[in-house]
């Protein structure tokens, strides 16, 4: 099986068994490590770094590095990031030593405190300088931990971002809302730890266990590549008869995947299954068809299966991908983007907005209507539904997703190229139900799997004279397509709670007319998402098959008129 391999630093990392290190920084980091060990992870891979000797002593990791022994004398950094930073700098030799010869570093930490916030960016930098690919998992503090910790966490996040190959943010606050308030605080903290732990274990299993279809570090890196990529991760495991279906659904419903919808904007998706020798071809097929039914055929799917006897009868499915942030501001100013204020700035270039205004305005309006209901469901909503929205809200990392996961179809609806009068927004029938997204018919699936072959994205066609086609992708050539306006979700708890650093800044004057036209004074347009595939997806207009299960044959969405597809291909 041939995989695309990206050039550059990755080529240096293609050694057969990549060396992986999981680093926990601070007390929260140590907690994550403990959970990994409890879940059956290998302690040999783990390194705990903290200033506090107490934490280090109780840590499950096989290797422990005390930060700033002279500086803090084995005590905590006392919530002072400067102290944490200096401690890390003091221990630079030991830290660098730990990273030597390692290819992949998982850096887990809970920002907000002194050690984690101060030392993590430094540690990440050292790791990177030692030629490691650094995958950072951070949790952000609970609201009740106070504004100071929140601020510290955000500042630290901004510092870590440039150092990280990929960054996954988990907000304790949002995760906490998933838990019934009366449940133990222990559990609230455990949610993020567990998710992080799953992510790490899935990736390490994928890389370490011999695979029937091997996924190498280079492939993983190719998927996660990009300085400023937003990482998507989904993981599910199940046993029993329908384990394939259950596991893949769980993976797709993972918080970080937004119910699988964000995969639509990815360019490459890595799917990895592990299980013992009992994994059947039918199961593999089931998983792949389930996943590919939710993907644009243009998306490249890398795929691996590995045998891991110690996980027993379980079948694990991990879906990893990243969405690159092509749009200018976020890429150019990573630090600014990391601040909550910057995340709120709409980045749509002015010209296309003007052209697209009527339609762009009409669409999100219709979509936005059901949103205010969402907060009411906060507590009762299942984990998979809630978290992504929250993450979207505040975390700079995940600030760019389509707004409402389930509203896939209508949301990214683009403007028509010709000045067609605004069409009525699609009716409420647009909510795509789980079943529609889910099961792919076997027969379709057989022709449907775009396994390792990257399918070329069909070029946009010029509109035929006299025929108005409002499916022609304006953004497909990479220029003026970023006019899709998505709206952030104003979760009440967010709006009310904290007026400090999180309050959205006044919008740039150029954008306020749009908001007026949208009739949504209280809402902020989020930065538009821009990639060739997402714009193509956005162009879909399938008439009466809009919310039907798609029929994809040989990479084509057969529900689109043949006429239009032929036009696009230029036949």
């Amino acid at each position: 099986m041939e995989f695309h391999r990206k050039a550059g630093e990755i080529s240096a990392l293609t050694s057969k068994s990549p060396r992986i290190l999981v680093v926990g920084v601070g007390a929260a980091g140590a907690n994550i490590l403990r959970r990994i060990v409890m879940d059956g992870g290998d302690p040999a891979l783990l390194v705990c770094m903290d200033t506090d000797l107490g934490t280090l002593n109780s840590c499950a990791a096989s290797k422990r590095i005390q930060l700033g022994g002279n500086l803090t004398k084995g005590l905590t950094a006392g919530g002072d990031p400067d102290l944490g930073r200096e401690a890390a700098q003091e221990s630079e030799p030991q830290i660098r030593e730990a990273f030597r010869g390692v290819n992949l570093v998982f850096l887990c930490t809970g920002l907000g405190g002194g050690t984690a916030s101060g030392a993590s960016p430094i540690i990440a930098r050292y790791a990177r300088e030692e030629n490691c690919f650094v995958l950072v998992f951070v949790t952000l503090p609970f609201h009740f931990e106070g504004r100071r910790r929140q601020t510290q966490a955000r500042e630290a996040l901004a510092l870590i971002k440039p150092q990280a190959g990929a960054l996954l943010t988990f907000e304790n606050d949002r995760m906490g809302q998933l838990i019934v308030p009366t449940e133990g605080v222990q559990k609230a903290f455990a949610v993020a730890d567990t998710t992080i732990c799953h992510s790490i274990r899935a990736i390490t299993t994928m890389l370490e266990k011999p695979g029937m279809i091997r996924v190498g570090l280079d492939q993983l890196l190719a998927v996660l590549n990009g300085q400023d990529a937003r990482c998507l991760f989904g993981f599910g495991k199940a046993t029993g008869k329908d384990r394939a279906t259950i596991a893949v659904r769980a993976a797709l419903e993972n918080p970080l995947l937004h119910d699988g919808d964000l995969l639509g904007s990815a360019s490459t998706v890595l799917v990895h299954m592990s299980g013992n020798r009992s994994v059947t071809l039918a199961e593999v097929e089931q998983v792949m068809s389930e996943i590919s039914s939710r993907l644009d055929p243009a998306i490249e799917v890398l795929f691996g299966v590995s045998a891991s006897e110690e996980i027993g009868e379980e079948l694990w499915v991990a879906i990893i991908s990243s969405v690159s942030r092509v749009n200018g501001v976020a890429a150019a100013q990573p630090i600014a983007a990391a601040l909550p204020t910057a995340a709120a700035q709409p980045i749509a270039p002015p010209q296309p907005i003007a052209a697209a205004l009527p339609i762009a305005a009409a669409q999100p309006m219709a979509v936005a209507q059901p949103k205010p209901i969402a907060p009411g469901q906060l507590i009762s909503a299942p984990l998979a539904e809630r978290v992504p929205q929250d993450a979207d809200e505040e975390s700079p990392l995940v600030a760019q997703g389509p707004v409402k996961p389930r509203l896939k179809a209508p949301l990214p609806m683009p403007a028509s190229p010709a000045p067609v009068p605004a069409k009525p927004a699609p009716a409420p029938g647009h909510l795509i139900s789980e079943e529609h997204l889910g099961a792919a018919p076997l027969a379709t699936a057989a022709v449907n799997q775009p396994l390792p072959i990257a399918r070329p994205v069909p070029p946009p066609a010029a509109p035929t004279p006299g025929v108005q086609i409002d499916y022609v992708p304006r953004g497909a050539n990479g220029t003026g397509g970023s006019t899709t306006i998505t709206l952030d979700q104003p979760t009440p708890s967010f709006v009310n709670r904290d007026s400090g650093p999180k309050t959205p800044p006044p919008l740039p004057p150029g954008n306020s007319p749009i908001r007026e036209m949208l009739g949504m004074p209280a809402q902020r347009p989020a930065p538009p998402q821009e990639s060739a595939t997402s714009s193509l997806l956005a162009m879909r207009h399938r008439g009466r098959f809009e919310n039907a299960e798609p029929t994809i044959i040989e990479g084509q969405d057969m529900d689109l008129p043949t006429y239009i597809r032929k036009q696009r291909r230029g036949d």
């Binding site: 018919p441 029929t551 008129p561």
Partner: protein, 404 residues
Amino acid sequence: MARAKLHVGLEIGTSKVGFVVGESRPDGGIKILGLAHTQSRGVRKGEIVDVEAAKQSINEALLKVEAESGHEVSEVYLAVTGGHVGYVNVSTDLDIPSPPGQVEVVDLEELCEAAREVKLPQDQALIHTIPRQFKIDGRLERNPVGQFGKVLKGDFHIIHGDRNRIHNSVRCVNQLSLGVADIVFSPLAAGHVVLGEAQKQEGAVLIDLGGGTTDYLLYADGSLIASGSIPLGGEHVTNDIALVLEIPLQAAESCKTREGSVYFNSKATPQLTPLPDVRGLEGREIDLNLLNQVIHLRVREILELVKQRLEATGRLQAAHAGVFLTGGGSLLKGMAELVGNVFMMKVNEQPEDVSSGSKTTLRLPQYATLIGLVRYAQVRERRLNPKKGAMSLGERIGGWLGVA
């Protein structure tokens, strides 16, 4: 004389829900006592997506057919289709019990049971196990019963479909207090009407262009080679027209049936014609040439997909009797020529007349599947209760192979 057996067929199609009540006559013919249909709701691409809406339209059709036939329906033969339906050809062996060393009907049944054991993916349920051919010690036997030999080998065509989707259809029918006697893959039912034994022997392709799906069968040398369903059909044609011409679906449907044709001339100049009576769009004109081009491209694409799938079996060229068209889509103007062009084969449009009754509409291709359900029921009934009718051994085996 005992009352003639009544059979009821139900097809929950994408565009219409139809019921048929037919009487199985002792001479092997069937008499259609009632046939009714209503516009279908809640069905997309041959599959029920909205159970409540579907139930309602089924119930409407049920009331109609009961009134028309004067027969209270309690049990139906249900046609199923959809892109989830697939097939697998398997063969099984059986040692013929040594004395007498002669094949008996029970041996065939045992062989068939063995074929049913085929391992399907977990989510798939078996719909049909159709004997294709039998061999005794390697020699092909059309009629193995009574023959002597050591090893009996049977080839079977197994049709399977997504368990949940099939259950959904059955449950939907059950909720209306109707029993389901059997489920039948739609084109097989249509095949009972459209294809005679002679055509199956000669080799034939059946294409049923339905509203939501295009179903197909391929017979060669009297045995079923391939069967399947592509979830594309007349609705897609209508939808294409609506999207490209930017007219409502309803207008698109009437354009398709009244004005449309699969002929199109790429060099022709636009040919404007008023849009057929659609309220609110008076005076709007459409380009006939564009309309035909849209229809042509879609239909051609569907046919090419069918051809591609049938070619993959390597036996398409063995269909000497040509292509048999049925289903509402076959009524499009110019279909026969287009199918001929795509398949490079003879095209037959007229179904064989196997039924009699009060209506001339029974020969319409839209009803092939419905009528076929009754025919299927009749053949199945005869196989299960061979003693009731005075059937020769040959007929019984014919029945065996006939429940295709």
